[in-house]
């Protein structure tokens, strides 16, 4: 027992020394180099200020990660709506957004047939957005096989993009609550009630559930994405909910109140990230977004780096687009609490941190070689410490570690060091996307929405739908579909 106590004391001293050394070196360097003794050139001054600002931002994000993780691990957990079992359930419509989803749409529709929401208050509407594959035929076949359960909406023209499709679909129904899934999601039986339950709170405008990767074991990338998702939802989103901050509506496995949507002007079809846009417009108009950590739904994560890079590029562009639209209005909105404005602003800036971090690294290296001031070394050390904390096991990755602990599946934590690989690739991708976004903005180019490629193989349900589809397609006068080969394989 005595040894344990001594070890803990030693550990505490070690941590304190580790923290203190760079700080002391900074202070020492600053004391030695008095401004009167050194001639600062303007570029050095600018670079110093930029570096200091970047360090400050990194510290903010580092502290934020720490607070979220500790709040999730030790704080009061807020899930006030999860236990709502009975009530006057409102009329809802479930949109399944689908664009060329022939591989996955059947599974999603089949899963929705099993949900326990009152049937007389439930409309299931597959939103087939200009698909050029067999998505339409599959949807129609499943709808025909289950009369009265589906109300398909086949959108054949109009502006591309999920927001535009959802806008058209919303205009077709009058349900009070809109629940949205992407076509590759597999909702569990009780999920719909859980997503709708927070809407009994008249202040809630949107609800977000937890996304859980289904194809985890496919390769290293899917396993790393599983860790990333766990950290993002189990800790980050849950902590924001616990602390009364700004949980983010993610565009799928979620619900939006129609009245709130109309109040903020509906779906903005200019937005690539319509989900983030909705989150912040709702917030600015006095509506809350609720995150339900126990409302889980399977999704398919990218299995190749190419698709992953495309996905994160789209997220980056969309998020930054929402940031430019909302950040000023958010910061100066006196109707909101200070903590909401602060968290909202930080959340909006998340995708800017990658290019900023790269600039910070470049500045640090440049100043190391060109700056005549010794105190820069102290700052550099401090910067290195903070950067390590931001990148290393003690901040963002601390979230992931906590998430795997909370999920109870702890062996996957062993892959954590490799998350650095995913982090570096994401950082470069996001920075590149931000650069091209700026370039496109200057050249007045329109942002284009790209669909994420699916990897799931055809299931029995989909195959059955195909077989029926093929039977229809081979009827006299009907053009033969090219998917016959797939079915017979």
């Amino acid at each position: 027992m005595k040894n344990v106590s001594r070890l803990s004391q030693l550990g505490t001293w070690f941590i304190l020394l580790t923290m203190a050394i760079p700080l002391l070196s900074s202070a020492q360097a600053l004391r030695i180099e008095e401004p009167s003794q050194v001639v600062y050139s303007l570029p050095i001054r600018i670079m110093t200020c930029m570096l200091a600002a970047i360090v400050l931002m990194l510290i903010v994000f580092t502290v934020r990660h720490y607070i979220f993780t500790l709040a999730r691990l030790f704080g009061r957990q807020r899930q006030p709506y999860l236990d709502i079992e009975m009530g006057n359930w409102p009329e809802i419509v479930i949109f399944i957004a689908a664009h060329n989803e022939e591989q996955v749409i059947a599974d999603s529709l089949t899963a929705l047939l099993e949900v326990d929401y009152p049937r007389d208050k439930l409309i299931i509407m597959p939103v087939n957005d200009r698909s050029t594959d067999n998505t339409r035929l599959i949807i129609d076949r499943i709808a025909d096989a289950n009369p009265g359960r589906f109300h398909p909406f086949h959108r054949i023209d109009g502006r591309p993009g999920k927001a535009a499709a959802l806008k058209d679909a919303t205009a077709m129904v009058g349900a009070e609550i809109i629940v949205i899934f992407d076509a590759d999601y597999l909702p569990a039986r009780g999920l719909i009630k859980q997503l709708v339950a927070p809407m009994f709170d008249p202040e809630v405008g949107a609800v977000m559930g937890r996304v859980v990767p289904l194809n985890v074991g496919h390769n290293l990338l899917t396993r790393l994405l599983d860790l990333e998702r766990a950290g993002g939802y189990q800790v980050d989103q849950a902590a924001r909910m616990n602390l009364g901050l700004v949980p983010q509506y993610g565009g799928t496995v979620g619900a939006v109140r129609r009245r709130a949507l109309e109040e903020i002007g509906g779906w903005d079809i200019e937005m690539l990230a319509e989900d983030t846009d909705i989150t912040f417009r709702l917030l600015r108009n006095g509506w809350k977004t609720v995150y339900q950590n126990r409302s889980e739904c399977y999704e398919e994560v990218p299995q190749t780096w190419r698709v992953r890079i495309g996905q994160i590029s789209r997220w980056s562009r969309g998020h930054n687009q929402v940031m430019t639209k909302n950040i000023i209005k958010l910061i100066f909105n006196r109707e909101l609490l200070l903590r909401e404005r602060l968290d909202g602003a930080i959340l909006l800036g998340v995708f800017l941190m990658s290019p900023i971090l790269i600039v910070g690294w470049m500045l640090a290296v440049a100043m190391f070689f060109i700056s005549p001031q010794h105190w820069v070394i102290g700052w550099l050390a401090f910067f290195a410490l903070v950067a390590h904390s931001a990148l290393g096991n003690n901040a963002a990755f601390f979230e992931i570690a906590a998430a795997t602990y909370l999920d109870g599946h702890r062996n996957r934590i062993r892959l954590l060091p490799l998350s650095m690989l995913g982090f570096l690739i994401s950082m470069v991708t996001i920075s590149k996307a931000a650069f091209y976004q700026l370039y496109d903005f200057l050249r007045h180019r329109e942002l284009v929405w790209h669909k994420t490629e699916r990897f799931r193989r055809m299931t029995i349900a989909t195959s059955a739908a195909y077989v029926d589809t093929v039977a229809l397609a081979t009827a006299p006068g009907v053009e033969q579909e090219p998917l016959l080969e797939n079915v017979t394989q």
Binding site: N88, E176, G190, R294, Y298
Partner: protein, 359 residues
């Protein structure tokens, strides 16, 4: 520093840098935890999960509707997954229940005890067996049971303690009932004074007879669809002429004046207090406590991140629209009727005498 020291330093540094990658590479090359996380784990959290599981198990063991003859045919013991299940019949059952001692013994031996006929648990009986009664069951005073399920009527005498859950078609509870878990019924539950539970659910739950000293609730208002939302900043008292056709959100404490009729939901960031005879055709949500005056009628749900106090003769939910009450601690007065379910974090207390809560 000599060459050996430099090499040792280099190797130590490399070891420290790459040490975390050893389990990483092992996990990558030989995955031990690469399955998708299990979801939809809320099944055990559903109020009736254990009761329905027990009923399903008994139906699996004995058949869905076993006759009395069939039960006597089964004998006294059967086995389920290697565990002995005792089936107690009229004669031996009554013998044992006279003292409760045999039932204690059965509890030590068997995981499940099934009463084939009308069951009576003797006063002071303590058992850890899971009890299932094919017909009515009467539990004597001061009995301590682990869990108990009845296909018929269940009468609990005073001072009964339930460690986990009880379920029946209809339950009538005596004074000082303590349920550390769930109490559910398919039709109704009648609570008496000083009852205590954590979760409860039934189509209708009565908390004593109507208290004649207080006003009675008007009928629970029917739900209406509305598109208005009223926002109030700071502590606010809502009068009927201020709002009656939409949702009310108060960013502070809210007080709803006597006999107000509100056809929407009410949310208060702080305390929410309803005076007497208020009717609300929607939910009540509060960041702190909710106090509901006498004779109020609320459609629900009621959600508080702190405590809820429901005054005498109030009605929560309706027979057509059962509802949910969620809070940290619930205190229910005499004459209250709740249609639906109650879920508390700490416990719910049924208190018939008038006491001051200092709110």
């Amino acid at each position: 520093m000599n060459n050996f020291s430099q090499l040792a330093l280099l190797l130590t540094t490399m070891l420290l840098v790459f040490l975390p990658f050893i389990p990483t590479l092992y996990e990558w090359l030989q995955p031990s935890d690469d399955a998708a996380l299990p979801i939809d784990q809320n099944a055990t959290h559903e109020l009736r999960h254990f009761a329905d599981s027990m009923r399903n198990l008994i139906a699996h063991l004995l058949g869905p509707e076993p006759t009395s003859d069939a039960l006597h045919h089964i004998g006294k013991t059967l086995f389920h997954n290697g565990t002995q299940v005792n089936v107690l019949h009229d004669n031996d059952g009554l013998d044992m229940l006279a003292t409760g001692i045999a039932l204690q013994a059965a509890g030590k031996l068997a995981h499940i005890v099934i009463f084939a006929d009308i069951a009576k648990i003797a006063s002071g009986c303590e058992t850890m067996a899971d009890i299932f009664a094919m017909r009515d069951i009467h539990v004597g005073p001061s009995a301590h049971l682990r869990s108990c399920c009845s296909k018929g009527y269940m009468r609990l005498a005073q001072n009964v303690l339930i460690h986990r859950w009880i379920d029946a078609e209809t339950i009538s509870a005596g004074r000082d009932l303590v349920v550390h878990g769930r109490i559910t019924a398919l039709r109704s539950i009648k609570f008496s004074d000083h009852s205590q539970f954590v979760r409860a659910g039934a189509p209708i739950m009565y908390f004593g007879e109507k208290d004649s000293r207080y006003v009675s609730a008007v009928a629970v208002p029917l739900p209406v669809t509305n598109n208005r939302r009223y926002l109030f900043d700071g502590d606010t008292t809502i009068l009927e002429e201020m709002v009656n056709d939409g949702d009310v959100i108060v960013r502070g404490s809210a007080q709803i004046a006597m006999e107000c009729v509100i056809s929407g939901s009410i949310k208060a960031h702080d305390f929410l207090r309803l005076q007497e005879n208020v009717s609300v055709a929607g939910s009540l949500i509060s960041g702190k406590g909710i106090v509901i005056g006498a004779g109020c009628a609320i459609l629900g749900p009621l959600i508080s991140e702190d405590d809820i106090i429901i005054g005498p003769n109030s009605i929560i939910g309706s027979d057509l629209v059962p509802t949910t009450v969620i809070c940290r601690r619930l205190i229910v007065a005499q004459g209250v009727i709740i249609y639906g379910v109650v879920t508390t974090q700490d416990s719910a207390h049924v208190v018939f005498e008038e006491i001051s809560f200092g709110i």
